[in-house]
Subunit: 464 residues, 2 copies
């Protein structure tokens, strides 16, 4: 087999990159669990018809077929029915909605879950866009109803989770919040009823700028130049305190817009901004241009950017669905956000923001004097592991210089030398060497321990 | 959307089942890391030609295609080349071998890695056989050479990892060990050179018994009845101390077999059994009938059964490959084992061996007196979380009885009642209630903590 080359869009990390990713995943999981979210996993596949329900994402789906499907002797082949067509999930929302319906009788609502899994999209790979990537989602779903306060809580959980990564060098985040009701109420109050079409154009603001969006609002969404101007004025409003709500009201008054829907949305937006100013000052910004494309959100919508890396796009997005799922009898509203973990980790590594202190778990290599004496090195390792210290034993009884290089090449800080018998026949003690300082001291495997910062590999700011 | 039904072969757990699975995964990871194995993940897909290299597994592969592949505007379509055909990996060995070759220049050898991921096989689902399942693999791979002692170390790491699950109710395990060199040397010494064919028949012993295997050795492997009898006699030898080696030598002498290869294999087998008798007494059994089908093992082979659940088959298997990978210039020998995590967890849950103490992370529900007072409940939750206690706030300011039922339905042991103002205007303290005992005491969110066993959900023996 010739040396294989990477597949574009399918990122993989070397062991030290995986240390960083694992730290990110562990930190997210811990934050989610501290907030009471239950972890679940769903299968990687869903029936194709379910994946295509929304239409918009159809081009991204990977469809599966068993290599020997034609020749199958399975039940399905015997009955003349082909296997139901399956595709890989492209997000964790569609599978979660299905899981909720399938297991509704066994779940307690409101049901808070987190889910950290790979997803797949067959789109063209480019910077920060992958064909396979890990997402970390939190959602709350209610049976029949879901109180508004969850729309305040969830972005704050995500802000806390991402904030817990600041100490490894992850940049500050900004959670940008908008409310679909504000936009829809405002547009309808202006006399613009093609709400989806207006949102579709507003969503392009970051890419093509207000002038072009204004033209498209006229040509595509049926707006008059005045209406287009008002939509752009609304989208330009942003800020991290409740005066932002006053500014929307002032704009509405100026344009003669009155709307109950807008007022409902503004009250909701104000509640998020107020709660955030207490619980995560400076992190949440109301931003009236956030549209979230054509996702089926009905209330709050969220995007999150890394400060200084805004061109990477949103690394954590979501919103409120009035109908996350429905089985006809019961409707399940939900609110959730999703972190693009691979996109985040890829940036942390490629921009040199975060590094691992070493590429292997071991804090110690136990040297081996001769192959015959390997059991005594194994015994040292066992004693250290029994106290939770990660250890490996040298692969061969090479010269000690080579065994030290084995540790050095992996970033392992300590090498342990089992004692033996001195020239005069008396036993010599075990010793442990810090290969960074060269310091070597007597040590007992029953009591010695590494400094806390050397115990496990850690993710740290790359400048550190 | 009508209520969906499960897909056969694609297991999913309810939140309490996931608590059990997560505990298993965390325990395996911790043991692997204590032994210095670095965690990696590989992409889910490999080029189809690589997946089919061994031929034997071709019928199990899921092949991927992008739904819009024909209409693609991507580079590949423009250049007239179809996308390289991709399939989902069916194990973690093929991807690991590819990862080693692809990254050889960046890895330090011998390279010890663990890998815990889903794999997919399009085979017919049946008890304990899934189409999607999690595997947990450890392997050591060397560049050019790999000392034998790793063949002793790796099954002991797995025995330790599975042994660490005993306290949640996982049955005792037996690691069954054999050595291909013993079998091959013995067969050739008998005059039987169709070694693969003999192994293929011996592999059927558990399914069809010795009488039928004896017949097949004659009809399919070209053995005389005497040779078949000798093969069956070898396969019948097993034991957990080194006398097993003496019994093989006695059988060989009796049948006039001499073989250097067999002697090499016996010395290796003795080394495992001896080391295991010190490090994991009673766990490792030499079993001369273990053949591991047609996998390309060249030395030690391993299978692992749950005592009392032998009919489930092996839950952890592996062996030594002289050629895990090769790029022409360098050959990479390896030794590794793989735990079928889904098969194990599925059995733990379905046989009622293990249960979770609750289905959500929260140890505490903070009650909400009125919606206006929600911020004070949020503040209690924040104070508790700051000290690492998992907490959720009640979803609504319902009657306290309903808020207690919210906790009870999820198995959450404590409900916290924020203080207020008494009838006489004096402040009343916060209180926390253990809803199992009904005991309710004054509590301060800055100092109160739950008992250690209630802090996080735990996996415990189901009888407990």
């Amino acid at each position: 087999m010739a040396r294989p080359t990477p597949l574009s869009g399918f990122p993989e990390w070397l062991p030290d990159g995986r240390v960083v990713e694992q730290h990110v995943l562990d930190t997210l999981r811990r934050t989610f669990e501290l907030h009471g979210f239950a972890g679940i996993e769903t299968r990687a596949v869903e029936p194709l018809d379910q994946l295509l329900r929304k239409g918009e994402t159809s081009k991204e789906v990977y469809v599966l077929r068993r290599l020997q499907e034609e020749a199958s002797e399975g039940d399905d082949a015997r009955s003349g029915r082909p296997d139901k067509q399956l595709g890989l999930h492209f997000d964790l929302t569609v599978p979660f909605a299905r899981y909720v319906l399938e297991n509704a009788g066994h779940l307690a609502f409101p049901f808070k879950r987190y889910q950290i899994q790979k997803v797949w999209r067959g789109e063209r790979p480019q910077d920060g866009r992958f064909r396979e990537f890990a997402q970390a989602d939190i959602d709350v779903v209610g049976a029949g109803e879901l109180p508004y306060h969850f729309e305040v809580e969830l972005p704050l959980v995500m802000a806390e989770a991402l904030g817990a990564l600041r100490d490894i060098g992850v940049p500050e985040v900004r959670v940008l919040v908008n409310n679909r009701r504000v936009a829809e109420g405002f547009y309808r109050g202006l006399g613009l009823d093609a709400v989806d079409e207006v949102l579709r154009q507003i969503d392009k603001l970051d890419k093509i700028g207000p002038a072009k969006v204004g033209e498209l609002l006229v040509s595509e969404a049926g707006a008059t130049p005045d209406q287009a101007d008002a939509c752009l004025a609304l989208a330009a409003i942003h800020g991290s305190d409740v005066t932002v709500v006053d500014r929307v009201r002032a704009l509405a008054a100026e344009r003669g817009v009155t709307s109950e829907l807008m007022e409902t949305g503004l009250a909701e937006l104000a509640a998020i901004v107020e709660a955030a100013s207490v619980r995560a000052p400076g992190v949440v910004v109301a931003d009236l241009k956030i549209a979230r494309g054509l996702d089926y959100y009905t209330g709050s919508v969220y995007e999150t950017v890394l400060v200084g890396h805004e061109q990477l796009g949103s690394i954590c997005s979501g919103g409120r669905y009035d109908t996350l799922a429905s089985d006809g009898a019961t409707t399940y509203p939900g609110v959730g956000l999703s972190i693009g973990v691979s996109r985040l980790v890829s940036r942390l590594l490629s921009a040199g923001l975060v590094r691992a202190t070493r590429s292997v778990p071991s804090a110690v290599v136990v040297a081996v004097t001769t192959e015959d004496a390997r059991p005594s090195s194994d015994a040292v390792a066992t004693a250290l592991r029994a106290r939770g210290i990660p250890v490996e034993v040298a692969p061969s009884a090479a010269k000690f210089g080579k065994q030290i290089r084995h540790a050095d090449r992996r970033g392992i800080p300590f090498v342990w030398f089992p004692g033996g018998t001195g020239d005069d026949g008396t036993p010599t003690p075990d010793q442990v060497k810090d290969i960074r300082s060269g310091e070597q001291v007597d040590a007992d495997p029953a009591t010695w321990e590494p400094p806390a910062e050397d115990w496990w590999p850690r993710a740290v700011p790359a400048e550190g």
